[in-house]
Protein backbone atom coordinates (compact mmCIF):
# COMPACT_ATOMS: atom_id res chain seq x y z
CA UNK A 1 0.00 0.00 0.00
CA UNK A 2 1.57 3.22 -1.19
CA UNK A 3 1.48 6.30 1.04
CA UNK A 4 2.67 8.47 -1.78
CA UNK A 5 0.58 10.83 -3.87
CA UNK A 6 2.48 10.56 -7.11
CA UNK A 7 2.29 12.94 -10.04
CA UNK A 8 3.96 11.83 -13.26
CA UNK A 9 6.67 13.89 -14.93
CA UNK A 10 8.02 13.74 -18.48
CA UNK A 11 11.55 14.76 -19.65
CA UNK A 12 10.12 18.12 -20.78
CA UNK A 13 9.00 18.99 -17.26
CA UNK A 14 5.24 18.53 -17.78
CA UNK A 15 3.42 16.98 -14.82
CA UNK A 16 0.07 15.32 -14.30
CA UNK A 17 -1.95 13.65 -11.57
CA UNK A 18 -2.61 10.80 -11.93
CA UNK A 19 0.35 9.45 -13.85
CA UNK A 20 -0.07 8.35 -17.47
CA UNK A 21 2.14 6.11 -19.64
CA UNK A 22 2.62 9.07 -21.99
CA UNK A 23 2.62 12.78 -21.15
CA UNK A 24 -0.81 14.24 -21.98
CA UNK A 25 0.89 17.51 -23.02
CA UNK A 26 3.66 16.34 -25.35
CA UNK A 27 3.33 12.57 -25.78
CA UNK A 28 6.75 11.66 -24.40
CA UNK A 29 6.84 8.83 -21.83
CA UNK A 30 6.50 10.01 -18.24
CA UNK A 31 9.87 8.95 -16.83
CA UNK A 32 9.77 10.35 -13.28
CA UNK A 33 7.36 11.00 -10.43
CA UNK A 34 6.92 13.74 -7.83
CA UNK A 35 5.41 12.89 -4.43
CA UNK A 36 2.79 15.43 -3.42
CA UNK A 37 1.91 13.79 -0.08
CA UNK A 38 3.93 16.20 2.11
CA UNK A 39 3.02 19.38 0.26
CA UNK A 40 0.22 21.88 0.70
CA UNK A 41 -2.31 22.81 -1.96
CA UNK A 42 -5.03 25.41 -2.55
CA UNK A 43 -8.72 24.64 -3.10
CA UNK A 44 -9.80 25.62 -6.64
CA UNK A 45 -13.42 24.51 -6.26
CA UNK A 46 -15.50 22.10 -4.19
CA UNK A 47 -18.89 20.44 -3.98
CA UNK A 48 -20.84 18.42 -1.46
CA UNK A 49 -22.58 15.53 -3.15
CA UNK A 50 -25.70 14.32 -1.36
CA UNK A 51 -26.67 11.60 -3.87
CA UNK A 52 -23.80 9.15 -3.75
CA UNK A 53 -23.42 5.69 -5.28
CA UNK A 54 -23.37 2.46 -3.25
CA UNK A 55 -20.38 2.25 -0.91
CA UNK A 56 -19.64 5.99 -0.94
CA UNK A 57 -20.04 8.14 2.20
CA UNK A 58 -23.00 10.51 2.19
CA UNK A 59 -22.62 13.43 2.02
CA UNK A 60 -19.36 13.32 0.08
CA UNK A 61 -17.47 16.60 -0.05
CA UNK A 62 -15.01 16.70 -2.93
CA UNK A 63 -12.46 19.32 -3.88
CA UNK A 64 -10.18 20.06 -6.81
CA UNK A 65 -6.95 21.37 -5.31
CA UNK A 66 -3.87 22.86 -6.92
CA UNK A 67 -0.25 22.15 -5.93
CA UNK A 68 2.36 24.71 -6.90
CA UNK A 69 5.58 22.99 -8.00
CA UNK A 70 8.19 25.63 -8.84
CA UNK A 71 5.62 27.82 -10.54
CA UNK A 72 3.93 24.93 -12.41
CA UNK A 73 0.59 23.78 -11.08
CA UNK A 74 -0.65 20.21 -10.72
CA UNK A 75 -4.30 19.68 -9.89
CA UNK A 76 -5.72 16.76 -7.92
CA UNK A 77 -9.31 15.83 -7.16
CA UNK A 78 -10.15 14.15 -3.88
CA UNK A 79 -12.44 13.87 -0.90
CA UNK A 80 -12.24 16.54 1.80
CA UNK A 81 -11.93 15.62 5.49
CA UNK A 82 -14.69 18.10 6.36
CA UNK A 83 -17.76 19.71 4.79
CA UNK A 84 -16.32 23.05 5.86
CA UNK A 85 -14.01 23.95 2.97
CA UNK A 86 -13.90 27.01 0.77
CA UNK A 87 -12.27 28.21 -2.42
CA UNK A 88 -8.77 29.49 -1.65
CA UNK A 89 -8.33 27.39 1.51
CA UNK A 90 -4.90 25.85 2.04
CA UNK A 91 -5.15 22.08 2.51
CA UNK A 92 -2.83 19.16 3.13
CA UNK A 93 -3.23 15.50 2.06
CA UNK A 94 -4.25 13.02 4.78
CA UNK A 95 -3.86 9.31 4.07
CA UNK A 96 -6.96 7.04 4.24
CA UNK A 97 -6.93 3.21 3.91
CA UNK A 98 -10.22 2.95 2.09
CA UNK A 99 -11.97 5.89 0.40
CA UNK A 100 -15.12 3.89 -0.47
CA UNK A 101 -16.28 0.30 0.02
CA UNK A 102 -14.63 -1.63 -2.84
CA UNK A 103 -17.30 -4.34 -2.73
CA UNK A 104 -20.40 -2.15 -3.01
CA UNK A 105 -19.98 -0.50 -6.41
CA UNK A 106 -20.05 -1.80 -9.97
CA UNK A 107 -16.28 -1.79 -10.49
CA UNK A 108 -14.33 -5.01 -9.95
CA UNK A 109 -12.64 -4.60 -6.53
CA UNK A 110 -9.34 -6.10 -7.72
CA UNK A 111 -9.12 -3.82 -10.76
CA UNK A 112 -7.83 -0.78 -8.89
CA UNK A 113 -6.67 0.47 -5.49
CA UNK A 114 -9.00 2.10 -2.99
CA UNK A 115 -6.68 3.88 -0.58
CA UNK A 116 -5.61 7.47 -1.08
CA UNK A 117 -5.64 10.97 0.29
CA UNK A 118 -8.31 13.28 1.60
CA UNK A 119 -7.67 17.01 1.85
CA UNK A 120 -7.72 18.70 5.23
CA UNK A 121 -7.78 22.49 5.67
CA UNK A 122 -4.60 23.67 7.38
Amino acid sequence: MSRELLAGECPNGHRSYPTHPRCPDCGDPQSATVDLADREAEVVTWTTSTATPPGVREPNTLAIVEFDLDGESVRVLGQATTDDVDVGDTVRPVYVDELRDPNAGIREPESQDWDGFRFEPV
Partner: protein, 389 residues
Amino acid sequence: MPRVRMSPVACIGASMTQFGQRDEWVVDLLAEAGQACLDDASVDAADLDHLYVSNMASGEFEGQTGVMNALAHDLGALGAYTQRVDQTSASGGAGIYAAWQSVASGASDLTMLVGGEKMTHRTTGESTDVIASLTHPAEYKHGVTLPSFAGLTARHYLDRFDAPRESLAKVAVKNHRNGVDNPHAQFRKEIDVETALESPIIADPLRLYDFCPVTDGSAALLFTTEERASDLTDDYVVISGIAGATDTQVVHERDDPTVMGGVVESGDRAFEMAGRAREDVDVAELHDMFTILEFLQYEGLGFADQGEGWRAIEEGVTARDGSLPINTSGGLKSKGHPLGASGVAQAYELYQQLLGEAGPRQVEADVGLACNVGGFGNCVTTTIMEVGE
Protein backbone atom coordinates in the same frame (compact mmCIF):
# COMPACT_ATOMS: atom_id res chain seq x y z
CA MET B 1 -7.43 16.76 -41.27
CA PRO B 2 -7.80 14.47 -44.31
CA ARG B 3 -10.47 15.53 -46.73
CA VAL B 4 -12.37 12.79 -48.52
CA ARG B 5 -15.09 13.43 -51.05
CA MET B 6 -18.23 11.99 -49.50
CA SER B 7 -21.79 11.70 -50.80
CA PRO B 8 -24.26 14.06 -49.11
CA VAL B 9 -26.33 12.17 -46.52
CA ALA B 10 -30.04 12.72 -45.93
CA CYS B 11 -32.32 11.77 -43.05
CA ILE B 12 -35.66 10.53 -44.42
CA GLY B 13 -37.35 9.22 -41.30
CA ALA B 14 -37.31 9.72 -37.54
CA SER B 15 -39.12 8.58 -34.42
CA MET B 16 -38.96 8.52 -30.66
CA THR B 17 -40.85 6.55 -28.03
CA GLN B 18 -42.44 7.98 -24.93
CA PHE B 19 -39.58 8.84 -22.56
CA GLY B 20 -39.99 8.19 -18.85
CA GLN B 21 -40.51 5.15 -16.68
CA ARG B 22 -41.31 2.31 -19.05
CA ASP B 23 -42.18 -1.34 -18.39
CA GLU B 24 -40.41 -2.60 -21.53
CA TRP B 25 -36.77 -3.76 -21.53
CA VAL B 26 -34.15 -2.26 -23.80
CA VAL B 27 -34.60 -4.44 -26.89
CA ASP B 28 -38.35 -3.85 -26.90
CA LEU B 29 -37.83 -0.10 -26.56
CA LEU B 30 -35.37 -0.18 -29.47
CA ALA B 31 -37.81 -2.19 -31.59
CA GLU B 32 -40.64 0.25 -30.84
CA ALA B 33 -38.63 3.25 -32.05
CA GLY B 34 -37.07 1.32 -34.94
CA GLN B 35 -40.40 0.14 -36.34
CA ALA B 36 -41.93 3.61 -35.96
CA CYS B 37 -39.01 5.10 -37.88
CA LEU B 38 -39.35 2.57 -40.72
CA ASP B 39 -43.09 3.29 -40.84
CA ASP B 40 -42.43 7.04 -40.89
CA ALA B 41 -40.41 6.61 -44.09
CA SER B 42 -42.48 3.71 -45.51
CA VAL B 43 -39.35 1.58 -45.72
CA ASP B 44 -39.08 -2.18 -45.14
CA ALA B 45 -36.56 -3.46 -42.57
CA ALA B 46 -35.35 -6.06 -45.08
CA ASP B 47 -34.04 -3.20 -47.26
CA LEU B 48 -31.64 -1.89 -44.60
CA ASP B 49 -27.95 -2.24 -45.46
CA HIS B 50 -26.67 -1.11 -42.05
CA LEU B 51 -28.32 -1.00 -38.61
CA TYR B 52 -26.59 0.80 -35.73
CA VAL B 53 -27.64 0.75 -32.09
CA SER B 54 -26.53 3.56 -29.76
CA ASN B 55 -26.46 2.22 -26.23
CA MET B 56 -24.14 2.80 -23.29
CA ALA B 57 -24.76 0.04 -20.83
CA SER B 58 -27.39 -2.62 -21.58
CA GLY B 59 -25.04 -5.21 -20.09
CA GLU B 60 -24.57 -3.26 -16.87
CA PHE B 61 -28.22 -2.21 -16.54
CA GLU B 62 -30.01 -5.44 -17.39
CA GLY B 63 -27.47 -8.12 -18.29
CA GLN B 64 -28.40 -8.01 -21.97
CA THR B 65 -25.58 -7.72 -24.49
CA GLY B 66 -25.69 -8.09 -28.28
CA VAL B 67 -28.61 -5.67 -28.53
CA MET B 68 -27.88 -4.84 -32.21
CA ASN B 69 -28.30 -8.49 -33.15
CA ALA B 70 -31.47 -8.81 -31.07
CA LEU B 71 -32.94 -5.70 -32.70
CA ALA B 72 -32.08 -6.85 -36.24
CA HIS B 73 -33.81 -10.16 -35.55
CA ASP B 74 -36.91 -8.56 -34.01
CA LEU B 75 -37.31 -6.03 -36.83
CA GLY B 76 -36.58 -8.46 -39.67
CA ALA B 77 -33.37 -6.76 -40.74
CA LEU B 78 -31.43 -10.00 -41.08
CA GLY B 79 -28.58 -9.73 -43.53
CA ALA B 80 -27.87 -6.11 -42.64
CA TYR B 81 -24.53 -5.18 -41.08
CA THR B 82 -25.17 -4.36 -37.42
CA GLN B 83 -23.05 -2.68 -34.78
CA ARG B 84 -23.57 -1.30 -31.28
CA VAL B 85 -22.08 2.15 -30.75
CA ASP B 86 -21.02 3.09 -27.21
CA GLN B 87 -19.65 6.48 -26.36
CA THR B 88 -21.34 6.72 -22.93
CA SER B 89 -23.86 9.60 -22.89
CA ALA B 90 -22.68 10.61 -26.37
CA SER B 91 -23.53 7.21 -27.88
CA GLY B 92 -26.40 8.78 -29.84
CA GLY B 93 -24.22 11.41 -31.48
CA ALA B 94 -21.53 8.82 -32.14
CA GLY B 95 -24.22 6.66 -33.75
CA ILE B 96 -25.19 9.52 -36.06
CA TYR B 97 -21.53 9.82 -36.99
CA ALA B 98 -21.29 6.07 -37.70
CA ALA B 99 -24.52 6.10 -39.72
CA TRP B 100 -23.38 9.18 -41.65
CA GLN B 101 -20.03 7.51 -42.43
CA SER B 102 -21.77 4.38 -43.68
CA VAL B 103 -23.85 6.27 -46.25
CA ALA B 104 -21.30 8.97 -47.12
CA SER B 105 -18.63 6.37 -47.87
CA GLY B 106 -20.92 4.35 -50.14
CA ALA B 107 -20.79 1.28 -47.85
CA SER B 108 -24.56 1.52 -47.29
CA ASP B 109 -27.45 2.97 -49.26
CA LEU B 110 -29.91 2.71 -46.39
CA THR B 111 -28.89 2.88 -42.73
CA MET B 112 -31.04 2.99 -39.63
CA LEU B 113 -29.77 4.22 -36.27
CA VAL B 114 -31.69 3.33 -33.12
CA GLY B 115 -30.59 4.64 -29.72
CA GLY B 116 -32.01 3.45 -26.43
CA GLU B 117 -31.48 2.76 -22.75
CA LYS B 118 -33.46 1.11 -19.94
CA MET B 119 -32.44 2.54 -16.56
CA THR B 120 -35.33 3.16 -14.16
CA HIS B 121 -35.48 -0.39 -12.75
CA ARG B 122 -32.23 0.47 -10.94
CA THR B 123 -32.03 2.75 -7.91
CA THR B 124 -30.71 6.26 -8.58
CA GLY B 125 -27.52 5.30 -6.72
CA GLU B 126 -26.97 2.26 -8.94
CA SER B 127 -27.62 4.23 -12.14
CA THR B 128 -25.25 6.94 -10.94
CA ASP B 129 -22.61 4.27 -10.31
CA VAL B 130 -23.00 2.71 -13.78
CA ILE B 131 -22.43 6.14 -15.32
CA ALA B 132 -19.60 7.02 -12.90
CA SER B 133 -17.79 3.86 -13.98
CA LEU B 134 -16.55 5.84 -17.01
CA THR B 135 -14.21 7.77 -14.67
CA HIS B 136 -10.50 7.13 -14.08
CA PRO B 137 -9.66 4.87 -11.08
CA ALA B 138 -8.11 7.91 -9.36
CA GLU B 139 -11.51 9.64 -9.62
CA TYR B 140 -13.77 6.63 -9.07
CA LYS B 141 -12.24 5.68 -5.71
CA HIS B 142 -13.23 9.08 -4.30
CA GLY B 143 -16.89 8.43 -5.14
CA VAL B 144 -16.95 11.02 -7.90
CA THR B 145 -20.18 11.14 -9.88
CA LEU B 146 -21.11 13.07 -13.00
CA PRO B 147 -23.40 15.33 -10.92
CA SER B 148 -20.44 16.11 -8.62
CA PHE B 149 -18.36 17.24 -11.62
CA ALA B 150 -21.25 19.57 -12.44
CA GLY B 151 -21.23 20.97 -8.89
CA LEU B 152 -17.46 21.52 -8.95
CA THR B 153 -17.63 23.24 -12.34
CA ALA B 154 -20.72 25.33 -11.58
CA ARG B 155 -19.16 26.79 -8.42
CA HIS B 156 -16.01 27.72 -10.36
CA TYR B 157 -18.02 29.22 -13.25
CA LEU B 158 -20.31 31.31 -11.03
CA ASP B 159 -17.39 32.63 -8.92
CA ARG B 160 -15.05 33.34 -11.79
CA PHE B 161 -17.49 34.99 -14.17
CA ASP B 162 -19.68 36.63 -11.52
CA ALA B 163 -22.75 34.94 -12.98
CA PRO B 164 -25.96 34.94 -10.92
CA ARG B 165 -27.05 31.57 -9.46
CA GLU B 166 -30.54 32.31 -10.81
CA SER B 167 -29.26 32.06 -14.40
CA LEU B 168 -28.82 28.30 -13.93
CA ALA B 169 -32.31 27.98 -12.48
CA LYS B 170 -33.65 29.87 -15.51
CA VAL B 171 -32.21 27.18 -17.81
CA ALA B 172 -34.28 24.61 -15.93
CA VAL B 173 -37.37 26.83 -16.07
CA LYS B 174 -36.98 27.37 -19.84
CA ASN B 175 -36.44 23.71 -20.65
CA HIS B 176 -39.33 22.60 -18.46
CA ARG B 177 -41.52 25.16 -20.23
CA ASN B 178 -40.49 23.74 -23.61
CA GLY B 179 -41.10 20.19 -22.42
CA VAL B 180 -44.74 20.95 -21.62
CA ASP B 181 -45.37 20.98 -25.38
CA ASN B 182 -43.45 17.78 -26.12
CA PRO B 183 -45.82 14.78 -25.96
CA HIS B 184 -42.85 12.39 -25.59
CA ALA B 185 -41.23 14.20 -22.65
CA GLN B 186 -40.82 12.57 -19.24
CA PHE B 187 -41.86 15.78 -17.43
CA ARG B 188 -44.53 18.06 -18.88
CA LYS B 189 -44.68 20.42 -15.96
CA GLU B 190 -43.72 24.08 -15.69
CA ILE B 191 -41.58 25.12 -12.76
CA ASP B 192 -40.60 28.57 -11.49
CA VAL B 193 -37.21 29.93 -10.44
CA GLU B 194 -38.10 29.76 -6.74
CA THR B 195 -38.98 26.07 -6.98
CA ALA B 196 -35.66 25.35 -8.66
CA LEU B 197 -33.67 27.40 -6.14
CA GLU B 198 -35.40 25.82 -3.14
CA SER B 199 -35.19 22.20 -4.32
CA PRO B 200 -32.90 19.80 -2.41
CA ILE B 201 -29.14 20.14 -2.84
CA ILE B 202 -27.66 17.34 -4.97
CA ALA B 203 -24.13 18.64 -5.60
CA ASP B 204 -23.69 22.03 -3.99
CA PRO B 205 -24.31 24.67 -5.42
CA LEU B 206 -26.55 22.63 -7.74
CA ARG B 207 -29.97 21.39 -6.74
CA LEU B 208 -32.45 18.79 -7.91
CA TYR B 209 -33.81 20.94 -10.76
CA ASP B 210 -30.31 21.47 -12.17
CA PHE B 211 -30.20 17.78 -13.12
CA CYS B 212 -31.90 15.62 -15.72
CA PRO B 213 -33.86 12.59 -14.50
CA VAL B 214 -33.18 8.86 -14.91
CA THR B 215 -35.12 7.71 -17.97
CA ASP B 216 -36.12 4.78 -20.20
CA GLY B 217 -36.69 5.38 -23.89
CA SER B 218 -35.55 5.07 -27.47
CA ALA B 219 -35.31 7.14 -30.66
CA ALA B 220 -34.43 6.34 -34.29
CA LEU B 221 -33.29 7.97 -37.54
CA LEU B 222 -33.18 6.64 -41.10
CA PHE B 223 -30.43 7.74 -43.51
CA THR B 224 -29.79 7.44 -47.22
CA THR B 225 -27.97 9.39 -49.91
CA GLU B 226 -29.44 12.78 -50.77
CA GLU B 227 -29.86 11.57 -54.33
CA ARG B 228 -32.03 8.65 -53.25
CA ALA B 229 -33.85 10.77 -50.67
CA SER B 230 -35.10 13.16 -53.33
CA ASP B 231 -36.53 10.17 -55.23
CA LEU B 232 -38.25 8.77 -52.13
CA THR B 233 -39.71 11.87 -50.50
CA ASP B 234 -40.16 15.63 -50.71
CA ASP B 235 -39.52 16.11 -47.00
CA TYR B 236 -36.06 15.29 -45.78
CA VAL B 237 -33.14 16.94 -44.04
CA VAL B 238 -29.42 16.67 -44.81
CA ILE B 239 -26.45 16.39 -42.51
CA SER B 240 -24.35 19.33 -43.67
CA GLY B 241 -21.73 19.12 -40.93
CA ILE B 242 -20.71 16.50 -38.41
CA ALA B 243 -17.62 15.96 -36.26
CA GLY B 244 -16.62 14.27 -33.03
CA ALA B 245 -13.78 15.01 -30.62
CA THR B 246 -12.35 13.72 -27.35
CA ASP B 247 -11.11 15.47 -24.21
CA THR B 248 -9.23 14.13 -21.17
CA GLN B 249 -10.68 11.22 -19.21
CA VAL B 250 -9.49 12.82 -15.95
CA VAL B 251 -11.63 15.95 -15.69
CA HIS B 252 -9.38 17.96 -13.34
CA GLU B 253 -6.44 17.67 -15.77
CA ARG B 254 -8.01 20.13 -18.23
CA ASP B 255 -6.22 23.47 -18.49
CA ASP B 256 -9.45 25.40 -17.93
CA PRO B 257 -12.32 23.76 -16.00
CA THR B 258 -14.89 25.88 -17.85
CA VAL B 259 -13.78 24.91 -21.37
CA MET B 260 -14.94 21.61 -22.88
CA GLY B 261 -12.29 20.93 -25.52
CA GLY B 262 -14.40 18.28 -27.24
CA VAL B 263 -17.24 20.77 -27.70
CA VAL B 264 -14.89 23.40 -29.15
CA GLU B 265 -13.12 20.97 -31.49
CA SER B 266 -16.20 19.13 -32.75
CA GLY B 267 -18.10 22.41 -33.14
CA ASP B 268 -15.34 24.11 -35.12
CA ARG B 269 -15.03 21.13 -37.47
CA ALA B 270 -18.78 20.72 -37.95
CA PHE B 271 -19.18 24.44 -38.81
CA GLU B 272 -16.26 24.23 -41.22
CA MET B 273 -17.68 21.16 -42.96
CA ALA B 274 -21.13 22.76 -43.26
CA GLY B 275 -19.66 26.05 -44.48
CA ARG B 276 -21.87 27.78 -41.96
CA ALA B 277 -21.33 30.64 -39.53
CA ARG B 278 -22.65 30.66 -35.95
CA GLU B 279 -25.34 33.18 -36.85
CA ASP B 280 -26.73 30.80 -39.50
CA VAL B 281 -28.01 28.42 -36.80
CA ASP B 282 -31.76 28.84 -36.18
CA VAL B 283 -32.33 26.23 -33.47
CA ALA B 284 -30.08 24.04 -31.32
CA GLU B 285 -30.33 21.06 -29.00
CA LEU B 286 -27.59 21.14 -26.36
CA HIS B 287 -26.80 18.34 -23.91
CA ASP B 288 -28.29 19.82 -20.71
CA MET B 289 -27.68 16.79 -18.51
CA PHE B 290 -26.91 19.54 -15.97
CA THR B 291 -27.98 23.20 -16.34
CA ILE B 292 -24.36 24.40 -16.29
CA LEU B 293 -23.64 22.32 -19.41
CA GLU B 294 -25.98 24.50 -21.48
CA PHE B 295 -23.70 27.51 -20.76
CA LEU B 296 -20.48 25.58 -21.39
CA GLN B 297 -21.71 24.29 -24.77
CA TYR B 298 -23.21 27.64 -25.78
CA GLU B 299 -19.78 29.18 -25.22
CA GLY B 300 -17.73 26.25 -26.55
CA LEU B 301 -19.69 26.25 -29.81
CA GLY B 302 -18.94 29.95 -30.25
CA PHE B 303 -22.42 31.40 -29.69
CA ALA B 304 -20.97 33.54 -26.86
CA ASP B 305 -17.54 34.40 -25.46
CA GLN B 306 -16.22 32.42 -22.52
CA GLY B 307 -17.96 33.45 -19.31
CA GLU B 308 -20.74 35.26 -21.18
CA GLY B 309 -23.07 32.36 -22.02
CA TRP B 310 -25.25 32.93 -18.93
CA ARG B 311 -26.34 36.30 -20.34
CA ALA B 312 -28.24 34.54 -23.15
CA ILE B 313 -30.75 32.99 -20.77
CA GLU B 314 -31.09 36.27 -18.84
CA GLU B 315 -31.78 38.17 -22.06
CA GLY B 316 -34.20 35.59 -23.47
CA VAL B 317 -32.00 34.78 -26.48
CA THR B 318 -32.35 31.04 -25.96
CA ALA B 319 -36.10 31.01 -25.24
CA ARG B 320 -38.44 29.54 -27.85
CA ASP B 321 -39.26 33.06 -29.08
CA GLY B 322 -35.64 34.24 -28.84
CA SER B 323 -33.14 34.65 -31.67
CA LEU B 324 -31.49 31.26 -30.98
CA PRO B 325 -33.94 28.87 -29.31
CA ILE B 326 -32.09 26.19 -27.33
CA ASN B 327 -33.66 22.86 -26.40
CA THR B 328 -37.12 23.40 -27.86
CA SER B 329 -37.69 19.69 -27.13
CA GLY B 330 -37.41 20.38 -23.41
CA GLY B 331 -33.82 19.15 -23.46
CA LEU B 332 -32.55 16.27 -21.39
CA LYS B 333 -33.79 18.26 -18.40
CA SER B 334 -37.50 17.73 -18.99
CA LYS B 335 -37.60 15.27 -21.89
CA GLY B 336 -35.40 12.81 -19.97
CA HIS B 337 -32.00 11.22 -20.62
CA PRO B 338 -32.04 7.56 -21.63
CA LEU B 339 -28.28 7.63 -22.25
CA GLY B 340 -27.94 6.00 -25.69
CA ALA B 341 -31.18 7.55 -26.97
CA SER B 342 -30.45 11.18 -26.07
CA GLY B 343 -28.22 12.14 -29.01
CA VAL B 344 -30.64 10.47 -31.42
CA ALA B 345 -33.61 12.26 -29.84
CA GLN B 346 -31.80 15.60 -30.22
CA ALA B 347 -31.66 14.97 -33.99
CA TYR B 348 -35.31 13.86 -33.96
CA GLU B 349 -36.22 17.31 -32.58
CA LEU B 350 -34.14 19.03 -35.28
CA TYR B 351 -35.80 16.84 -37.93
CA GLN B 352 -39.24 17.91 -36.71
CA GLN B 353 -38.27 21.57 -36.44
CA LEU B 354 -36.65 21.69 -39.89
CA LEU B 355 -39.60 19.96 -41.57
CA GLY B 356 -42.19 22.08 -39.76
CA GLU B 357 -43.61 19.15 -37.80
CA ALA B 358 -42.93 20.37 -34.26
CA GLY B 359 -46.51 21.47 -33.52
CA PRO B 360 -46.74 23.92 -30.60
CA ARG B 361 -42.92 23.84 -30.25
CA GLN B 362 -42.38 24.99 -33.83
CA VAL B 363 -39.85 27.74 -34.50
CA GLU B 364 -38.71 29.08 -37.85
CA ALA B 365 -35.67 27.02 -38.75
CA ASP B 366 -33.66 26.07 -41.83
CA VAL B 367 -30.44 25.18 -40.01
CA GLY B 368 -30.25 23.22 -36.75
CA LEU B 369 -27.40 22.08 -34.52
CA ALA B 370 -27.15 19.27 -31.97
CA CYS B 371 -24.33 18.82 -29.47
CA ASN B 372 -24.21 15.46 -27.68
CA VAL B 373 -21.83 15.17 -24.73
CA GLY B 374 -20.48 11.99 -23.15
CA GLY B 375 -18.97 11.87 -19.67
CA PHE B 376 -18.27 15.42 -18.50
CA GLY B 377 -17.30 16.58 -21.98
CA ASN B 378 -15.04 13.55 -22.46
CA CYS B 379 -16.48 12.61 -25.88
CA VAL B 380 -18.57 14.99 -27.98
CA THR B 381 -20.30 14.91 -31.36
CA THR B 382 -21.69 18.04 -33.01
CA THR B 383 -24.12 17.69 -35.91
CA ILE B 384 -25.52 20.39 -38.20
CA MET B 385 -28.69 19.55 -40.12
CA GLU B 386 -30.46 21.55 -42.81
CA VAL B 387 -33.66 21.34 -44.81
CA GLY B 388 -33.14 19.31 -48.01
CA GLU B 389 -33.40 21.11 -51.34
